[in-house]
Symmetry: C3
Subunit: 324 residues, 3 copies
């Protein structure tokens, strides 16, 4: 694995998931693999779970970690070419990425979309330029349109919690209300990974969202889509709760209909479904407290599994570096 940006970077998905679960059983099994290797984690936006879990994964592998918070450290990057830099940007991504590549063997990058210009966000221009100029393997810590470490984590968690062998679980991505306009990165990515997992026979995948919240087609091919929450979650084994802003009317909030919030009552429609969320979650806005505090919630276990997703990916990258 050279880079980790989308599910397309994974050759064998079931194998990667299994390896992550093996690492969970034996975190320090490869603690010398990353010896003398440095991971740089570059944040253009804040992070809690992603930073800590990736740092922990790197520690398990014996790597040194350097964290670079460029949002707070006042380092506005220029990404466009041909710009006379006489404004507020202090450094071009060409130099910034190349320099960080000089100090690190693997780089992670987090960069949120601005939610203003869909074409710009969905071009993933910043991320692709970072990859191009840093010249070392890059692991996405969430980009404008994807959050692959989260999605791998989610698949790991589903695999871990599903023991029936006669059928794959029904997994539902359920839109939920929120007070702010959020990116589509998590739902795009979750959908992309679940569609691939469905091809592998690992899940049956359904998306439920109100009118106006359709995700970009490139992420949802193969998914069943419904505009009825009740229909979507009927007999579900896993409900993945997540808000996102509109893709079509880009970055807008069309509905905050609280009938889309999952509560204990709605869970009765499901097959005693496990409830997932990438966190942070707005209690009693996105998801009812009674669910979060009840036995169906997987959110803490899911957050814990972020370590094994990151570790499985870093391990692959280190193995790749070792063979050159």
């Amino acid at each position: 694995m050279k880079h980790f940006f989308s599910v397309a970077d994974v050759d064998n998905l079931p194998q990667l998931v299994d390896e992550a679960l093996q690492l969970k059983n034996n975190p320090f099994a490869s603690e010398y693999l990353g010896k003398r290797k440095t991971l740089g984690l570059v944040f253009l936006n804040p992070s809690l779970r992603t930073r800590l879990s990736t740092q922990k994964a790197a520690i398990h592998l014996g790597m040194d970690v350097m964290v670079i918070n460029m949002d707070k450290e006042g380092w506005a990057l220029e990404t466009k070419d041909g710009v006379v830099m006489n404004g507020s940007t202090v450094e071009h991504i060409r130099e910034a990425a190349a320099v960080m590549g000089q100090y690190c063997d693997i780089l992670g990058l987090r960069s949120f979309p601005k939610l203003q210009d869909r074409e710009e966000d969905y071009s993933e221009d910043l991320f692709q330029k970072f990859i191009r100029f840093c010249k070392v393997p890059v692991i996405s810590l969430e980009s404008a349109t994807r959050h692959p470490l989260q999605s791998l984590t989610d698949l790991i968690t589903i695999r871990e919690c599903w023991s029936e062998i006669t059928r794959p679980p029904k997994v539902v991505l359920a839109w939920a209300p929120h007070v702010k306009a959020l990116p589509q990165a998590v739902p795009n990515s979750f959908s992309e990974w679940m569609c691939r997992a469905q091809v592998e026979g690992m899940v049956d995948f359904v998306i439920a969202h109100p009118q106006g919240y359709a995700l970009a087609e490139e992420f949802t091919r193969g998914a069943a889509v419904t505009h009825s929450l009740e229909e979507g979650i009927a007999d579900a084994d896993f409900v993945y709760v997540k808000n996102w802003s509109a893709y079509e009317d880009y970055g807008k909030i069309h509905s905050v209909d609280d009938r889309w919030m999952i509560d204990q009552n709605k869970l009765t429609l499901t097959n005693d479904a496990k409830v997932m969320h990438c966190l942070p979650v707005r209690r009693d806005v996105e998801l009812a407290s009674e669910v979060l505090d009840g036995p169906n919630a997987l959110v803490i276990q899911e957050a814990g599994n972020r370590v094994w997703a990151a570790q499985a990916v870093l391990k692959r990258m280190l193995e790749q570096l070792a063979v050159g």
Copy 2:
């Protein structure tokens, strides 16, 4: 030791102090005890000494350290239950604490009081919830009402600097002026630890403060209290200088009477007392420069001893983890 929040968490106080001084003589004696263990240091408020000394202590013990600055990283936590989270808080402490507990074997937490609602601050609600939800041992890096690592440090420093065996030293907590309203955490905690040390025969303890600055009774039981600085410091062996805002008229400043500032002249009333302060100190407001720069000041040695206090506590926690 499961958690370290107050002196009540210490079984044998003289033993813990002695162990800290042994660690000072041999910092790396237990450098494998913390191998493969991760310490997460969570700061909801700024820190200099506490972060560095605790990080250094963890390094001595072979631990990995992850620092989490939640104040600057824009992560406003909700602590109340039953709140519909449609406002400015982005994550509930139930999730935030639980998630951090997934990534760390021991967590440290710093959280200052708001000094607006005494009942809320003195409930230590946030800290107790953090302990409850993270499910790993927690070490206080200063909470709303206590700063136990500082107080342990202070006792270590007193022990280190007192060689008379015929009597315990007279230790005086002396209120000092300041320009800002400060928490009572340091004086509460110092008083709580000195009262306990007095029971153990390690010190004789006196508190001197102006009218209106009485600390909460729970911290001062057994201490002699005077409203005369001169009376308080008479024949003192150690003077512990510290400002605090009023407990009764909560968070208010009643007096900035500069006659309460310790200077060289006032020291003549003492038994050539050593002068302590937790730092940072406002020179010539809280304490005269001539004292800070003179031979009686212990403040730098005291700050250095923060390492051994933290290390003694972390060592106990790691030993506890090892036996399960």
Copy 3:
């Protein structure tokens, strides 16, 4: 080497440069030298390259690193003596430096000039007080008037890229336009190091800048100075591009004359010169994109070499600590 503040701290300059290049070939050759030693990196101003490269160098030497961002952590230091601290500064450098010296074996400090009071900036008062009070070896991560790790890096890079043995290369420091008033630290330091290197027969050194941009004489003794860019860069082997604000009319911008920007056309006047810059660089303001993206630019290699400069210096300091 006790401290690293200017070229005067280096006994044998060619030897230090050679050692740095040897470390580049074998980064982990001394990985036990720094075992159980802690490097504290204190930033009163932001840093990207300096922090990462110094941290990486310390990792190569087996040191533990603690980063202390005092700019963002709201810790305003008082540096003047005799001040009654009833204003906005929360801690005096006497205490702050001394305390950090308690926790670290070597300290690095970055502190920019305010560009308001030349005498104050050029006194290097803050830096010298930091050295005086912390009582451990100090490595400059850029001070008010110098950036020695950058200058050592630059000399390393020149040595690395120059293979002619019949003559030393012609190295030109060329002033360039910028939109902001920048310190003189980088050009001062570069000039100071090149003047010394010239004495050692390692370079021929020329400075080209517009009228009104003369650097302080203490840094430029021995350098040829011209006010014509064309004259300066004629037959140059290395052109070091850098903006600075005026020293005489202190901190002011007199000219933003874009005829001083190096572009491909100006390079034709040189001996196919390699182009250097300390970064970050404002593209098409200080330096043309066509040069930065072309084969003559050394800027990324130069940034990479920051590691070896820092490592050579830290290695000397650690060796000094070992002999006591």
